[in-house]
Symmetry: C2
Subunit: 336 residues, 2 copies
């Protein structure tokens, strides 16, 4: 397993501090839910350290550096993208009925769905508030881009919920969903610092492209891990995506591949009730035999190459480019 | 019953058109929920006409006129405040378990809670997007004010949910909750057009004060109607707030009045299980005997007077002032 890139660990403490300061603006009853969800406290409000890896803030800060902006200029963007990410996880866990998040009970199971709905709402509004605190052309640009990314995040989740009830999801639809649900906010994270720093439009465009492609690669790898990943790293039971009959990218590729294995996989996916361990192993074998595993791995590689191309075209200094590249490779690693 | 003021009916069609155009930006699966919730369609997607009275958009347009701004300048504000209002109702109905909204099944009962959560999220993001479409000082100001009002709306709802589990709610807390949950967005509605039109700060301040006081008066009257209103106008069963053991303003006044009736009311409110019709009638009598009804009526009058004072200090032309005043009197009428 590759070490966490320095650009993720370095800014972490400062971003964390800014996030906590921003959360002070929330009503205490809501802050309690948010602090738990962000891993700052346990369910009794006692200090904890269970946060995520804060990938999006690191990207936001890097994108500020890419535009030659100061750390302070990019910081509200770093906090805002992480808050939008937290908003979406809070609400998605309720909608998906997911009871576990980062090895802990999901916030809605601890505080109830109402508190989790409100916590998400408050984080969404707060993310905009932070960007609009400054009255600059850059903050307006960033706020505009963040609401657009949020809309795509919401569309992606809506699409995803619809997939569960359909047996005719195409690979294109599935890619669109992933681009909306995962790609849009990562693309915004990779460019928001440059917007706040009022960098050139071309730079913002290339960084957006980089983030978008990296986001798809990330989703493809996540989907591979959801079937073949070890429970130690994913924090989920083995074969969990198949257990949940999730229409992830490798599965949808396999379902649409037109092979005998595709037909058998469709049959198993359509069968009501929980699948046996034998069924789950067969499903995994079928996805692989129908080409889903190889396609997803190759597609992830293509997306990473495309992301690197955008990065090369962005015309940024070698250090910053190397750090962006390290993050892209780190989050799309398959063996961790 | 007084006729609906012309300023509410006049702009209605144009605001409606702008709202529909804005909703076109939403993903179809989400637009379906939003169109139903806003009364544009029935549960099968067929055209309907079941919307609310669009009070907030009328106030937003008026506030644009107060600042001498064009109709087009204030229009995004009119749509944005109505979308935030719609967002809050969509989410609140889920949290409160309210199955009826404007004489129809609430959206979450028709499309499910997940779709209603997403619909609300999308409306919240869209409201910001609409304001940020323009890159002006005024649109930045308006967007900032709307996110602040949204935070107060969320705090108010959180406070309100907490009230249900407490038997020691003070009148001050209850007034703060109402100011957050009802006052903040009305205050923003009454001033957002002036912000978009980049009117003077003093004007925005007075219009905000007007909306805030009108909002409290409106809540007081709504709470009176929730106990003594006729089901025909409220759209809810008689004595509905008491049935739901709601800690509304007249009730909280009565509970804190220190009279023998206060003690008996507290006893009835604390009793588990549904109340009998006799109990409900006794509760209403007790709220009145403990002074809750008279206090709420007098407090509403005081708030209306204070709202009028702000209006007088705003230095706006007589026509606009008269229209603001008509709306304030209309929404705080007790006999409709």
């Amino acid at each position: 397993m590759t070490a966490v890139p320095a650009s993720i660990t370095d800014g972490r403490a400062l971003v964390d501090q800014a996030m906590r300061a921003a959360a002070e603006r929330l009503d205490p009853s809501i802050r309690k839910v948010v602090a738990y969800h962000l891993g700052w406290t346990d369910e009794h409000g006692r200090p904890a350290a269970a946060g995520g890896k804060a990938l999006r803030p690191a990207l936001a800060l890097l994108s500020g550096r890419a535009a030659g902006a100061s750390y302070e200029t990019a910081l509200p963007g770093a906090v805002a993208v992480e808050f939008v990410h937290a908003f979406s996880l809070l609400h998605d866990d309720i909608m998906d009925g997911d009871r576990t998040r980062r090895h802990r009970p999901a916030a809605w199971t601890v505080f109830g769905p109402s508190a989790a709905i409100l916590g998400g709402d408050a984080l969404l509004a707060l993310s905009e508030e932070l960007l609009l605190d400054e009255n600059t052309r850059g903050s307006h640009w960033a706020a505009r881009a963040l609401t657009a990314a949020t809309q795509r995040l919401i569309s992606g989740q809506s699409f995803d919920l619809g997939f569960e009830r359909r047996d005719d999801v195409t690979l294109d639809e599935c890619l669109t969903m992933a681009a909306d649900k995962t790609g849009a906010l990562l693309a915004c994270s990779c460019s928001i610092g440059a917007m706040l720093g009022e960098g050139p439009t071309d730079l913002v465009t290339e960084l957006t492209g980089f983030g978008s492609e990296m986001g798809l690669a990330f989703q493809l790898v996540d989907d591979l891990l959801g079937i073949w990943g070890s429970p130690d790293t994913t924090g989920k039971p083995v074969l969990s995506d198949l257990r949940a009959r999730k229409k992830s990218l490798p599965v949808v590729f396999a379902l649409n591949a037109g092979t005998p294995e595709s037909a058998r996989l469709a049959e198993l996916y359509a069968r009501p009730g929980p699948a046996s361990e034998d069924d789950l192993r067969e499903m995994a074998r079928l996805v692989e035999a129908a080409g889903g595993r190889d396609w997803a791995a190759a597609e992830a590689d293509r997306r990473i190459a495309s992301a690197e191309k955008h990065l090369g075209d962005a015309g940024i200094d070698d250090h910053v480019r190397a750090e962006f590249r390290d993050i892209a490779l780190f989050v799309t690693e398959r063996d961790h």
